[in-house]
């Protein structure tokens, strides 16, 4: 009997096992038992991720760097917001980076990173990103992972349809979400219609240095320009912007800007614009905007205010701009890798509209117009539409592409990613997101050559998905494997700030470019010292300049006397190290600023204005070596009227 029972339980056990195995096969790879998902995102200790993901921080103003598929955070690159950890915007060298025509601004809202390209393919040189609030575009080096340049955009407001890079990085293009009076003027707000304009900025990029220059602006009607993408391949030379509020409402936009059945995608022929600029057919408009450049050799930024901009009026130049009617306040405006399809995501609709570039050219040639707006021809909707993806979901926002003719669109309201086919417009698959997804990113998804292995979906809301942290919860990104017919959710990880949008690139395109140290002999900082013999302290009235060095594990000098209350003391600190990953930090008690974090071969400066008599210590803030705790020094502060002379030393010398 016992044997029988044992047998029965054994049989039952095997049945259960079968049930589980069966589940595995039918369960679509979900659940821990049912798959090898953990392995597919596991990057073993010491191994490297396959992709870099540059994820914007949204309202944090920064750009964070993650690895995919692991979702590990490597670095937060300060761009538009001060960062005390790295002294960005705190040290004297980087303060000019955040200068604008409105003065120093310590914050912005960073939205759309985009990577440099050559021949429509990612090249790993730079990543660009826009500041939404006080319109700016930044360029970040992928050798140093530092913000090297920021240019302010005049005549613009709500710099949202930015920053998108043309296929040879000829331009970084920036639109304006909020139209404003151009030039700015003291007029009643309800005179919006006709008086407000939207400036589309074309910023040229020097291919050697990356230096940006606001080449020209196209002054468009006063709509809201929401998102943009450049043409590529056959449509290279064109730029496409989605619009809403073609109603030109100036109040309660949630209702008043949602009345038109169709808004537009604006198609701008920038090659034509270049010809007009070349031919001198532009107006020069006085304006004021800051151009800030960080120089790697002086380790310092400079800010220059520029005073004019070249402007093109599309109503005066036929052939420069056309409007493609697109249903219901289109948000995303995405171009497929071939350059043929321009996808408008009507965010108040359930459908996606794909315009055909070929049909657009044909409609232009045969003047198939359906009226005009402010002198800009409106093409006939039926003559430009290639297809519509029907009932794909609710609230479509953004689309990216793989290399196999598939498109992936996010739906905010129905919280899902939908895979569909270009050309047949059929829905192939859908996967939920958690929750309220905004952008999504496929590495290279904005180029002619997408790396269609993963899609990263970025969510606005997480509710119950993670351990709760009070009323403010993390936002998140979710990684899906898209290498098969069906998408599979692999990973879900919290992000810094709002992961508004991201740009991804194979790590192999970036790793070989890394700067490991700054060569000391190339340091042209005006206050650099290259060896301990030259360290010194100089007084110039109430200003005191300390030329200091760091090397494991001491400062030179580390004893300073003769400072007086009311002095303005500049610590110019050069890190003499020339070894990889050996930064030193420094901070001074009572200094009204952040620490410095100085890379090998670099010089940085902070200001200390001592208010109290005494002997005050400073120390190394970055754990540099076994004797890090010994890396400290003292400054003696005497009363204003004292006669103590300046004196400095290291170990009594």
């Amino acid at each position: 009997m016992k044997i029988t029972i044992r047998n029965i339980s054994a049989i039952l056990g095997s049945c259960l096992l079968l049930l589980f195995v069966g589940c595995n096969q039918n369960g679509n790879g979900s659940g821990a038992l049912g798959s090898d998902i953990a392995q597919r995102v596991y990057v073993a200790p010491g191994e490297h991720d396959e992709f870099y993901a540059f994820v914007s921080g949204g309202f944090s103003g920064q750009l964070s760097v993650y690895g995919l598929p692991s979702g590990r955070l490597f670095r937060v690159i300060p761009v538009f917001s001060v960062d005390a950890e790295k002294a960005y915007g705190f040290n004297e060298e980087t303060k000019p980076m955040l200068n604008t025509s409105h003065g120093f601004i310590p914050w912005d809202d960073a939205h759309h990173p985009d990577l440099s390209q050559t021949n429509g393919e990612l090249d790993g040189r730079w990543v660009f990103i826009n500041g939404n609030n006080t319109p700016r575009i930044a360029r970040i080096s992928l050798s140093t992972f530092e913000t090297e340049e920021i240019i302010e955009l005049p005549n613009s407001a709500g710099n949202h349809s930015s920053s998108f890079v043309t296929e040879n990085t000829e331009y970084v293009v920036a639109g304006t979400r909020f139209s404003v009076p151009v030039p700015q003027a003291d007029i009643p707000i309800d005179e919006y219609k006709g008086k407000f304009k939207g400036a589309m900025s074309f910023i040229s990029v020097d291919q050697e240095t990356g230096h940006m220059d606001l080449s020209f602006q196209i002054m468009m009607p006063g709509f809201n320009y929401d998102l943009a993408h450049p043409g590529r391949g056959k449509s290279h030379g064109w730029m496409f912007f989605s619009t809403y509020n073609t109603e030109e409402a100036n109040s309660l936009l949630e209702v008043n800007a949602s009345q038109n059945d169709k808004d537009f995608i604006a198609a701008i022929n920038w090659k034509k614009a270049e010809e007009l600029i070349e031919a001198g057919e532009f107006d020069v408009m006085p304006s004021e905007y800051a151009h800030n450049v960080y120089d790697e050799s002086t380790h310092s930024a400079t800010s220059t205010i520029k005073r004019q901009v070249r402007v093109l009026d599309p109503s005066k130049h036929p052939g420069l701009v056309y409007f493609l009617p697109t249903p219901k306040s289109p948000h995303g405006c995405d171009v497929d890798p071939s350059g043929e399809y321009i996808i408008g995501s009507g965010k108040l609709a359930a459908a996606l509209t794909a315009h055909s570039f070929t049909k657009m050219l044909d409609a232009i040639e045969n003047e198939k117009f359906d009226g005009e707006a402010y002198g800009i021809p409106i093409l006939n909707y039926d003559d430009v539409v290639a297809g519509v993806v029907q009932q794909a979901g609710l609230g479509p926002l953004h689309t990216e592409f793989d290399a196999n003719g598939n498109a992936y669109t996010t739906f905010f309201i129905s919280s899902e990613v939908v895979k569909w086919k270009l050309g047949t417009w059929e829905v192939l698959d859908r996967q939920p997101t958690y929750y309220s997804v905004g952008h999504l990113m496929i590495p290279g998804g904005n180029s002619r050559k997408p790396f269609g292995k993963y899609v990263l979906a970025m969510n606005k809301i997480t509710k119950d998905r993670y351990l709760p942290t009070g009323p403010e919860l993390t936002q998140s990104a979710q990684l899906y494997d898209i290498s098969g017919d069906k998408m599979e959710l692999l990973l879900d990880f919290p992000t810094v700030g709002e992961p508004h949008y991201a740009a991804g690139i194979p790590a192999d395109l970036v790793k070989p470019r890394q700067t490991k140290i700054y060569r000391l002999e190339d340091n042209n900082h005006p206050y650099a010292v290259k060896n301990e013999r030259d360290t010194r302290v100089e007084r110039n009235g109430r200003e005191v300049h300390i030329y200091m060095t760091t090397i494991r594990s001491h400062f030179a000098p580390d004893n300073i006397e003769g400072i007086k209350v009311g002095d303005k003391v500049y610590f110019h600190v050069t890190n003499l190290e020339q070894d990889y990953d050996v930064p030193h930090g420094i901070s001074m008690i009572g200094a009204n600023t952040s620490e410095l974090l100085i890379m090998p071969g670099q010089t940085e400066t902070f200001i200390w204005e001592p208010k109290k008599v005494g002997v005050w210590p400073f120390y190394c803030t970055d754990f540099c070596s076994a004797l890090h705790q010994e890396m400290q020094g003292y400054v003696r502060v005497s009363p204003r009227n004292s006669n103590i002379q300046l004196k400095w030393s290291l170990d009594g010398d």
């Binding site: 090397i551 494991r552 190290e577 020339q578 070894d579 076994a626 004797l627 010994e630």
Partner: protein, 202 residues
Amino acid sequence: MKKSRLIMVLSALLLLPLFVLPIWNITLEAPQYPDAIGMDIHINKFEDANPNDIKNINIMNHYVGMKDIPETIPEFGIFPKVILAMVALGLIAALIGKRRLYVAWFVVMVALGSAGMYDFYLWEYDYGHNLKENAAMKFTTPDGEPMAYQPPLIGSKVILNFKAISMPRGGAYLMFLGMGLSLAAFYIAKKEESHEADLAVA
């Protein structure tokens, strides 16, 4: 010209690469140095294996009281002259064409090489033992003796968290080849002489 003479010429000339290639190398490996750091020793200078390596070795070693690797040493004035003299002597030997001179050249080379190695050992000993009194870290061996940090003369050795590897480099290998060839020249010359003697008899 006889084959043996040509070989002797070659063996003398094989010392000349020493003016370009390093004769020796010391490399330090540790987990936190994924790219090992090292120093190439030439007959007239110390050189970074990779940029800044000597500076970084000095920074590391100062914690245990080791002195900096000097910019130059007296040997760097002597070695090039000795090498040039040995090239000249080798060529003269080949010119005279006496096989005893070939083996004599070889013997002098071995003697000079041994002297050089002994000199190197003395320097290494001093570098590893003669430590500053005020070193931040003073380690002792299990039997309580002050720890020494002398790199191996040849081969590898674990010193604290580092593995120190000391090995000949290109210049030395070519020199060894040259020395071997001088012996070969000796034997070939011997054969040539007996062959000539046979011919003479015939």
